[in-house]
């Protein structure tokens, strides 16, 4: 392959045509409240891990929905499972349980 001093950039945008909807369905069966999220950010506002780093738990919902495995893997280890998010969620999303199941799902796929 020719070398011209640069590489051709790869698209960064989410291509929803590539996503595997079955993974989402499987998660929703385990944590039905996943669907209720309204992305209000109350969880992030109270998050303990957020105080010390860049973790944004609100984003988990969208990352999972679009099957953004790479982004999820980076994020998932930052949570300390304190469960405050679950207490404050105005829609009753069981975020703690969600994190546990997503971690499992990511591990299973490996």
């Amino acid at each position: 392959m020719a070398d011209f001093g640069f590489n051709i950039s790869k698209p960064q945008s989410i291509d929803t045509n590539d996503m595997d909807v079955n993974r989402l369905q499987a998660l929703e069966e385990k944590v039905p409240s996943f669907r209720s999220c309204i992305s209000c950010g109350t969880c992030t506002a109270t998050c303990s891990a957020r105080q010390f780093g860049s973790f944004n738990i609100r984003r988990i919902h969208n990352l999972y929905r679009w099957d953004q495995r790479k982004g999820l893997e980076k994020e998932m280890q930052k949570c300390m499972l304190c469960g405050k998010c679950t207490l404050v969620c105005p829609r009753g999303v069981n975020l703690r349980s969600l994190i546990i199941h997503i971690r499992k799902a990511l591990a299973d796929k490996k």
Binding site: F4, F6, K10, P11, Q12, S13
Partner: protein, 226 residues
């Protein structure tokens, strides 16, 4: 209100470029740079409209303001009539003025841009010219370009070009008196000052005094994975 926001607002283009942003993301959705860089014009517009001095300063020192390709696709679409690309241009202008551009790899490239574009304008009156598009600097242009630049004197007249000639026509030499006027305009309007600022800033930051060495460094260096 702090200093940097005011500096941005002093630019005559600012008033038209930012009314108010509702964060709809329509600009990012079709932005070519957002497709290939970790880049989000919406966030930049929002950062400016929040008027947080620390955030604006971070922006002026960042890589992110150098990703935009100035295609202006965002202007066509914004439902609030903002022009993200022009805000970027204003940020870049202030970043260079304040000397912040040297803090980012992409910002430092302005040294190469200055040599390759602005200096060419001052030297020969063109932005781009076959004489300055050397094949070695543009191998990706391919063998036809190599062939053309090697044989240009013999082949350009076939296309009606007046390569290095006097009088009108494509690729003519631009008259000395015209070049003098261009130089005067650059001096009087801050064009040369900007070039000097970029040069001094880049040299002080990198401690490289040799033009060619510095040029090669910023022209080729790409430490990001993008």
């Amino acid at each position: 209100m702090g200093n940097l926001y005011d500096l941005l607002r002093e630019d005559v283009r600012f008033e038209e470029a930012l009314h108010s942003c509702m964060n709809c993301g329509i600009c990012t959705a079709i932005c070519p740079a957002a497709e290939f860089y970790d880049y989000d014009p919406r966030k930049i517009v929002d950062t400016i409209q929040r008027r947080n001095e620390d955030e604006i300063e971070a922006l002026l020192r960042s890589e992110t303001i150098w990703y935009c390709g100035q295609c202006l696709s965002c202007k066509t679409r914004c439902p609030r009539g903002n022009i993200p690309a022009v805000l970027i241009a204003i940020l870049r202008s202030v970043s260079q003025r304040m000397g912040y551009f040297v803090e980012s790899e992409k910002g430092l490239q302005q040294f190469a841009v200055s040599k390759k574009v602005a200096q060419t304008i001052l030297d020969i009156g063109y932005c781009v010219h076959p004489d300055t598009m050397k094949y070695e600097m543009h191998t990706e242009q391919g063998p036809v370009w190599k062939w053309y630049t090697e044989n240009i004197e013999e082949i350009a007249p076939r296309f009606g070009a007046n390569y290095h000639g006097e009088g009108p026509g494509a690729l003519r030499s631009i008259r000395k008196d015209t070049m003098e006027e261009i130089n005067k305009i650059f001096e009087a309007t801050g064009g040369k000052e900007l070039m000097r600022k970029v040069e001094t800033g880049a040299k002080n930051k990198t401690n490289i005094r040799n033009d060619e060495d510095l040029f090669n460094l910023v022209y080729n260096r790409n430490t990001s994975k993008e």
